[in-house]
């Protein structure tokens, strides 16, 4: 069961990511990214992170991606132009990406045995457990994060305002 669920939603993740790359219009890329986010939420659930799964949907798919979609539609640039500004991006960038993938994958594959397994009958991390850590040990970072978000709001408003308004 776990295996089947994993395969399906991992497939969705990858398909969405690849589609993000292949699409030319940004709105399509945004929608693919929403697919990725949602699939990731299911995967979190499989890993026993129930709160995180919901948070992923609410925050990422529900807020961040909506924001992206708004901006795409607001700016309405249309399909990408095929410009070729940099050869370096291809000559150095692709090998670098391959190396990154290769190294990480290699290490993980070689260490497979010691990494263990995941199954559905393992305990889920409840929200109660999360909050036990979040509001006790990590209270300060939590509060600071809220200040950070406040600042982000202010900054975004300041940046996106039209010129000429006082």
């Amino acid at each position: 069961m776990h295996l089947v669920l994993f395969l399906i939603f991992a497939g969705f993740c990858l398909a969405g990511a690849v589609n993000l790359l292949l699409q030319t219009h940004p709105i399509n890329s945004a929608l693919s990214l929403i697919v990725v986010m949602s699939s990731l939420a299911v995967l979190y659930l499989l890993l026993g992170a129930e709160f995180l799964a919901i948070a992923q949907i609410i925050v990422y798919a529900g807020a961040v991606m909506v924001l992206f979609t708004f901006v795409v539609m607001l700016l309405n640039v249309g399909e990408e132009e095929k410009t070729n500004g940099s050869k370096i991006a291809k000559t150095i960038g692709f090998p670098a990406a391959v190396v990154i993938l290769g190294v990480i994958a290699d290490i993980i594959l070689v260490a497979q045995r010691s990494l263990g397994r995941v199954s559905l009958d393992e305990p889920i991390t409840t929200t109660k457990d999360l909050s036990a850590v979040l509001f006790r040990d990590l209270l300060l970072p939590f509060e600071l994060t809220s200040v950070l978000i406040l600042i982000a709001i202010l900054g975004a408003v300041a940046l996106a305002r039209k010129e000429g308004h006082s």
Binding site: G85, A89, V103, D106, I107, L115
Partner: protein, 672 residues
């Protein structure tokens, strides 16, 4: 009894004179400069005389004193196995040399007071002269090769300074440079010899080398020949033998007293002194001795032939110096070191006398040096005439003047040296005849006949007299110049009377036994016979000179015209200078222009600046393109950097490259 000889003061007093005159002399009045300059060599002379007296009254040779500052022994070099000190040693040979140097030197100082009295740079002259005395004393007092080399180089330096004394005259400056460069070539040989000595004996001290040699009687030839030949190169440079004699005739550009002191009496004898000092090495190498003898004989003859046709009075004397040095080398080459030193001593007397008298003639004629413009000076410069006569007789080897005894001893020892010795003797004999001829030629041309000085428009030949000296009519020199002439004339007459036997016995502990005529086949009568032959040859030379030059005739001119090829060869000094110029100087100049100009300035200096500038600009070009502002290229470089980091992080964490041997990842919780 052990007296303190104060050996270190003998060089240091002239050094003090140099420092005072050199640093302050410009501002001091002339009388003070002269006093300082004369006091130093006189004090040194007194010290030497005192040393001689102490020896005579009982102190023993050799006296070795290490120059100590306070109570600390002044070690000079103490680097691993090399150990050299400031050590002065006085033995018989050094004593003889010191007496000559300080004695004759002092007389020349007195002479210079008169001769240079009108010169600018008076203080400079005496400073350099004292400097020369300092270095020469160090040379003969040194107890090891390195200290002797200090003196060796130093006299070369002093001679450069003094030859080029009239430095604003191009020929004088060039002559100074030539002397220094040629001496340098000789010094190279000396240095090689020192290196070989160091390699062979591990020490540069005469004492320890002597002991090492004595302890190894089987060590012959081989390395010792090499050492000896290197030292001979040095001696040839300093003592103006073939092939390094070319500097000495040009050195006549210096003031005449300088020629007397440096190029007649003292510096050029340093080479002979060095060979005598290291005779232990030469004795072990018959090949080297043969080389020395051949060089000496060849130079004696060669220089004598050139002297036959020279017209400048100082040049004649210069070539005769080279020739007489050839005799000394000849004496050393047949292992008759005492005879060579004996000739060195008498030569110092009469050659200094000849030069000073020539200077007196030049001074009297207000700067004229060409003998063709002289004549009839016998009545006008009487004291000069008589003293010079003594010198001419002495150099020609006429009995009973000093030169007779020493030259005769040289030739006798050469003859007794085996088959090759007889050939050398013959060459020496011919050279003696030629010497006599050209010296009397000089004598006749200068002092006899009608005066040609006022008939010729005197192209005032200011070689050794600056133009400040206004032309007077012919006049005798002041007493400051004549007194040394008289003293030297007396020494030239009586200097040889000590006799070879006593002189040789005196020096024997240092340079080896002298050949005793009584023990040779033929005995003493053979010695007398050879002497008679020598005197006869000298008289022959005198006679021929008399024929040619006593009264004005054209015999000389006719002979010169008849043998014009030979005459031109001799008058142009066998074109040796031109030959050296062609073979050595021009290629060297071309090479150094090439290296300095093309390589040095072009490639290295301009090239390196071009390179540096180019590198910076190129790097700038490359780096400039990196900052393109293009987001994607930045992203690519970021990814590349991340890839590298991940690679190394993987290596660091797992301990192997890409998990080659299997990785086991787990975490240990503390407290579990």
């Amino acid at each position: 009894m052990n007296h303190i000889f104060f050996l270190q003061l003998i060089p240091l007093l002239p050094l003090a004179g140099f420092l005072v005159n050199g640093l302050l002399g410009r501002r001091l009045p002339k009388a003070l400069v002269s006093t300082v300059a004369l006091a130093a060599p006189f004090a040194a002379f007194l010290l030497v005389v005192r040393a001689a007296y102490l020896i005579w009254s009982g102190s023993t040779f050799p006296v070795v004193e290490t120059f100590a500052i306070g109570t600390r022994t002044a070690e000079w070099i103490n680097a691993g196995p090399l150990h050299v000190d400031f050590t002065f040693a006085l033995d018989q040979l050094t004593l003889v040399m010191l007496l000559i140097i300080t004695g004759v030197g002092f007389l020349i100082h007195i002479y210079s007071v008169g001769y240079m009295s009108h010169e600018e740079g008076y203080w400079r002259y005496f400073a350099y002269l004292n400097l020369f005395l300092f270095f020469m004393s160090v040379l003969v007092l040194a107890e090891n090769f390195l200290l002797m080399f200090v003196g060796w180089e130093g006299v070369g330096l002093a001679s450069y300074l003094l030859i080029g004394f009239y430095f604003d005259k191009k020929s004088a400056a060039d002559a100074g440079k030539k002397a220094f460069v040629v001496n340098r070539i000789g010094d190279f040989g000396f240095l090689l010899g020192m290196f070989l000595l160091l390699a062979q004996f591990g020490s540069l001290s005469f004492g320890s080398i002597g002991t090492s040699l004595a302890a190894q009687p089987a060590l012959q030839g081989g390395i010792l020949t090499a050492i000896a030949l290197c030292l001979v190169v040095g001696a040839c440079g300093k003592s103006a033998q073939i092939p390094l004699y070319i500097w000495l005739p040009d050195a006549m550009e210096g003031p005449t007293p300088v020629s007397a002191l440096i190029h007649a009496a003292t510096m050029v004898t340093a080479g002979v002194y060095m060979i005598a000092r290291t005779h232990a090495i030469f004795d072990r190498s018959p090949f080297a001795l043969a080389v020395v003898a051949i060089i000496g004989a060849a130079t004696a003859l060669f220089a004598a032939t050139i002297g036959l046709v020279q017209t400048d009075i100082k040049r004649v004397l210069a070539y005769s110096t080279i020739s007489q040095l050839g005799y000394m080398f000849l004496g050393c080459g047949v292992a008759a070191y005492s005879a060579a030193i004996f000739h060195l001593m008498t030569h110092a007397f009469f050659k200094a006398l000849l030069f000073l008298a020539a200077g007196s003639v030049i001074h009297g004629l207000s700067g004229e040096q060409d003998m063709r413009n002289m004549g009839g000076l016998r009545k006008k410069l009487p004291i000069t005439f008589w003293t010079m006569t003594a010198g001419v007789l002495a150099i020609s080897g006429i009995f009973p003047f000093a030169g007779f005894f020493s030259k005769d001893a040289d030739l006798y020892d050469a003859f007794e040296h085996g088959a090759s010795g007889k050939a050398i003797w013959f060459v020496g004999l011919v050279a003696a005849g030629l010497t006599s001829f050209y010296m009397f030629r000089l004598w006749y041309l200068t002092f006899f006949g009608e005066s040609r000085a006022e008939t010729q428009t005197s192209a005032v030949n200011d070689n050794s007299h600056s133009t400040l000296h206004t032309s007077h009519s012919v006049h005798e020199s002041p007493w400051s110049m004549l007194a040394p002439l008289v003293i030297l004339a007396l020494l030239s007459i009586g200097g040889g009377w000590i006799g070879m036997k006593h002189f040789g016995d005196f020096l024997a502990p240092v340079v080896g036994a002298v050949v005793d005529p009584e023990k040779e086949p033929g005995g003493e009568t053979f010695d007398y016979f050879l002497s008679v032959v020598a005197v006869a040859v000298a008289a022959l030379g005198w006679f021929i000179a008399h024929l040619f030059y006593f009264r004005k005739n054209d015999r000389a001119a006719k002979l010169a015209a008849a043998m014009s090829g030979v005459h031109s060869l001799l008058a142009n000094k066998y074109w040796i200078d031109e030959l050296y110029n062609f073979i050595f100087v021009r290629p060297l100049k071309a090479i150094s222009t090439f290296i300095l100009g093309w390589i040095g300035e072009g490639v290295i200096i301009r090239g390196s600046t071009w390179l540096l500038g180019g590198i910076v600009m190129l790097t700038g070009e490359l780096l400039r393109r990196w900052q393109s502002g293009n987001l994607r290229s930045y992203a690519a470089w970021l990814a590349a950097g991340a890839a590298v980091l991940i690679l190394f992080a993987g290596y660091a964490i797992t301990g192997t490259w890409l998990g080659a041997h299997g990785i086991d990842i787990h975490i240990n919780w503390a407290g579990r």
